[in-house]
């Protein structure tokens, strides 16, 4: 059941383009979307979720054009938007019942399904409280539960780990891994380590364009052998930044430890080669685009 995005362009107005001639094919597994703010990640997700129509191009799910026939994907879609809200006067149970109705899920097993999902996101004890009194993390967990209500085959998570505490983030990663065998999962995050842990494939975007899409080792290989660390005096940093792509700095007594990528394979003096990471590759690709 591949999801094919073909030459999709989304223009908001004459001067602002969300996506520009964007094409990508997504298969079962987890695709992590990485990109700076305004790269078009949320726009792409909204188009797949059928709540935004592309200006040009088409999106096919299993050969069916879902721009023209959105209900085809809606039946099997689980969507967690970036800044979703809730009805504060409903409790968790009533809210999930409502979302189930939206998704066309009913029958005798619905109550048990909701109970189990609430249990799974650790909200059983709070299920009878109005959601308006929930913390940010609890609301996020309700969001995750609603996305799973209809046994989705396409799951879209836009910044899903925002508001989750470290333990909840670990559990969320585990959940995604469990689901990945059977679903297409598209996940965006600013936290590169989340994508690094969860995603099978990574798509890097900037200015509405796809810079690269590959499995993680292939993406990382683009900067392999070009990542170094060195110690600098504080005064040297500005000059250093003009020559190299600085990934990270940290204070070490009187010195500053700098992690950097060479632009033309010429490393600075007294540097040590280090293993490249997805974050290095992401910053390298987006900086050079």
């Amino acid at each position: 059941m591949p999801l094919e995005i073909k030459h999709v362009t989304k223009k908001f107005n004459k001067d602002k383009t969300g996506l520009a001639d964007y094409s990508i094919t997504i298969d079962k597994g987890v695709l992590g979307l990485l990109g700076p703010n305004g790269a078009g990640k949320s726009t792409l997700m909204k188009i797949i979720a059928t709540i935004s129509k592309p200006t040009e191009g088409t999106v096919f799910l299993d050969g069916v054009d879902i721009v023209q026939h959105p209900d085809n994907i809606r039946k099997i879609l689980g969507y967690l938007p970036q800044d979703f809200g809730v009805y504060p006067n409903l409790n968790a149970y009533e809210f999930l019942e409502y979302i189930a109705a939206m998704k066309g899920v009913g029958g005798a097993g619905l109550r048990k399904r909701i109970d189990m999902l609430l249990d799974g996101v650790n909200l059983t004890a709070d299920a009878k409280r109005p959601i308006g009194s929930y913390s940010g993390g609890m609301k996020q967990r309700i969001g995750i539960a609603q996305a799973l209500l209809n046994d989705p085959k396409v799951l879209i998570f836009d910044e899903p780990t925002v508001g989750l505490d470290p333990e909840e983030r670990v559990r969320f990663r585990q959940l995604i891994s469990d689901l990945a065998d059977d679903c297409i999962i598209i996940l965006s995050s600013h936290i590169v380590s989340d994508i690094e842990t969860i995603a099978d494939e990574v798509a890097i975007m900037k200015n509405g364009r796809l810079l690269d899409k590959a499995i993680q080792p292939d993406i990382i290989s683009k900067v392999e052998g070009r990542v170094f660390e060195t110690l600098l005096d504080s005064g040297e940093l500005t000059t250093f930044k003009s020559k190299y792509l600085v990934i990270n700095t940290s204070r070490q007594k009187e010195k500053t430890k700098v992690r950097y990528i060479t632009k033309n394979n010429e490393m600075a003096l007294d540097s040590t080669a280090v293993n490249a990471t997805l974050e290095d590759a992401y910053l390298f690709l987006t900086h050079n685009a």
Binding site: S52, D71, G85, G104, K112, L117, Q146, E168, D182
Partner: protein
């Protein structure tokens, strides 16, 4: 003062850059046009039992200033109310609270931005009134001061007062918007009663917040002197001449402004500023949870003590019961009704229940013509949130991406609203059926559909609830005042009741079709 200017500017721009404001402006321009009716029109905006002033500069300028003052004071409150609430909802208030701006400084900036919004609308009616003078008048000279002075002396102090009252209402009554509306309406009614009060002593002049009684007294004296009449009643607002009798005309050259009158206007301006200053001592400074949420917080704490902390278990999709498809709309209707019932304060249902019981025992005409529009108006925030709440609560991502949202979601919302409206109208419906009067039943059903369809249409098109609240308030006010064109309930006897039923049906169909068409576009263009 520089930061006050910046806040006022930002607040003003934020409020005026909306469809709701533009539509309000368009309606106001139309209203200003209707303030100066053509000589053949069957209505007048200032009626002295069959008399009407000739359209000279003084008459057009004063009447349009008076109408603007009264109408804008009335619906302006609804338009500007909610500025502080917006800062609470968007959490901008939390940032404001951490800055060095004083409570008075913040409230003063809200007061000024309220006033600027109203002033913008007033500016439009002022311009239209001048245009209307040249459209309607022949043979009388144009005197600019006949327009400028009444607007300055009637409208400006009144609008300052309304702007201050909006701030006071928000400070003391927080999010209880219905209560704010009711109290303001009571204040407005009292002021309007004072305008038509026959006494003309200094106390009455001081007590007139709108300042227009000086004008009505002057006009009454003119008619009584010229035609040797003893006219007492002057009707302000749109009065329909149902007998098609021609108006007798007289020439009125404006008000002789006295020093005491000018002092009274200055006093009301001072009162407006004093109200803002006084309320600054009680302003919550966005510590709203502490003020309004104590009880809830305590409940949560008690509840949490009973909760046994469980270890996270994770979700096993394979263990979940199989999904059973159900594409009906019954669960939506159930939840929409639940949301309608839970919306607002529980105590407010007591008032609704009181009016509902009164509808059972009051004379039928009172129940039908007065209590029914009132009980429906009491639900104004329920109707206005019917189709706007998902966007306000940022739930529209879910609803628009759900299965057939247009065929299931929107009908369920409208159906739930109509069910509630009919449940509230039940006493009048039952009494009509008992007396075998079926037109009222049909008209009430049509009226229920109309209220819900109007709320849906305006909410969807404008993207907010404010515009509907203003229009519905004016509509309800006109219905209670028994103005025939506003009679969406069919409470005023009709020459051709069947034609009226079909007209309402057509109107409802148009509103519903517009709602669906626009929502259909919105659902795919987030």
């Amino acid at each position: 003062m520089r930061y006050i200017y910046s806040i006022v500017k930002a607040d003003y721009l934020q409020r005026t850059r909306s469809y709701a404001f533009l539509i309000t402006l368009a309606i106001t321009v139309y209203a200003a046009y209707s303030f100066v009716p053509p000589p053949t029109a069957s209505y007048t905006t200032l009626n002295i039992v069959g008399y009407k002033g000739v359209y000279n500069s003084a008459w057009v300028g004063h009447v349009s200033a008076m109408m603007t003052t009264i109408m804008l004071s009335l619906y302006g409150f609804f338009l500007i109310n909610g500025g502080i609430k917006k800062d609470i909802d968007t959490e901008v208030g939390l940032i404001v609270a951490t800055t060095k701006i004083s409570n008075f400084g913040y409230l003063l900036s809200k007061f000024f931005s309220n006033f600027l919004v109203l002033l913008t609308i007033m500016g439009c009616t002022f311009a239209v009134s001048i245009v209307m003078f040249f459209v309607r008048t022949t043979g009388y000279p144009f005197i600019i001061s006949d327009f400028v002075v009444p607007y300055l002396l009637f409208a400006i102090p009144a609008l300052l007062l309304v702007s201050a009252l909006s701030v006071v209402a928000e400070v003391f009554l927080g999010k209880r918007s219905i209560l704010q509306y009711i109290l303001f309406f009571m204040f407005f009614g009292t002021m309007l009663a004072n305008v038509t009060n026959l006494k003309n002593d200094n106390t009455a002049i001081i007590a007139d917040a709108f300042g227009v009684r000086t004008m009505t007294s002057s006009i009454r004296n003119k008619v009584n002197t010229q035609y040797h009449e003893n006219v007492a009643a002057i009707n302000l607002g749109f009065t329909f001449n149902s007998h098609k009798k021609a108006f007798r005309t007289f020439v009125w050259n404006g008000v002789n402004w006295t020093g005491f009158f000018l002092f009274s206007r200055f006093l009301w301006i001072c009162i407006a500023f004093a109200l803002v200053y006084f309320s600054s001592f009680f302003f919550h400074r966005f510590d709203v949870k502490q003020r309004f949420g104590k009880k809830k917080k305590a409940l949560i704490k008690d509840h949490m003590q009973d909760v046994k902390i469980t270890a996270p278990v994770g979700v096993s999709m394979a263990a979940l019961p199989p999904v059973v498809a159900d594409y009906g709309i019954y669960p939506f209707i159930k939840t929409e009704l639940l949301l309608l019932i839970r919306q607002g304060s529980k105590w407010f249902w007591l008032i609704t229940a009181g009016v509902w019981v009164a509808m059972l025992f009051a004379p039928f005409n009172i129940s039908y013509g007065y209590l029914l529009p009132v009980i429906w108006f009491l639900q104004v925030t329920r109707w206005s949130e019917l189709v706007t709440k998902e966007k306000f609560n940022r739930l529209h991502y879910f609803t628009y991406s759900s299965y057939k949202p247009l065929q299931r979601m929107l009908p369920a919302q409208m159906f739930a609203g109509i069910l509630l409206a009919l449940a509230l109208a039940l006493p009048v419906i039952v009494r009509s059926i008992v007396t075998l009067s079926f037109y009222p039943v049909i008209n009430i059903i049509n009226g229920a559909i109309f209220v819900v369809a109007l709320a849906a249409c305006i909410g969807i098109v404008s993207g907010g609830k404010k515009l509907f609240e203003i229009i519905y308030f004016l509509l309800s006010y006109c219905v209670v005042e028994a103005l025939p064109p506003a009679d969406y309930l069919g409470a005023i006897p009709k020459e051709n009741p069947l034609a009226y039923v079909f007209t309402m049906l057509l109107l409802n169909t148009f509103l519903i079709l517009t709602s669906f068409t626009v929502r259909s576009y919105q659902a795919r263009h987030l």
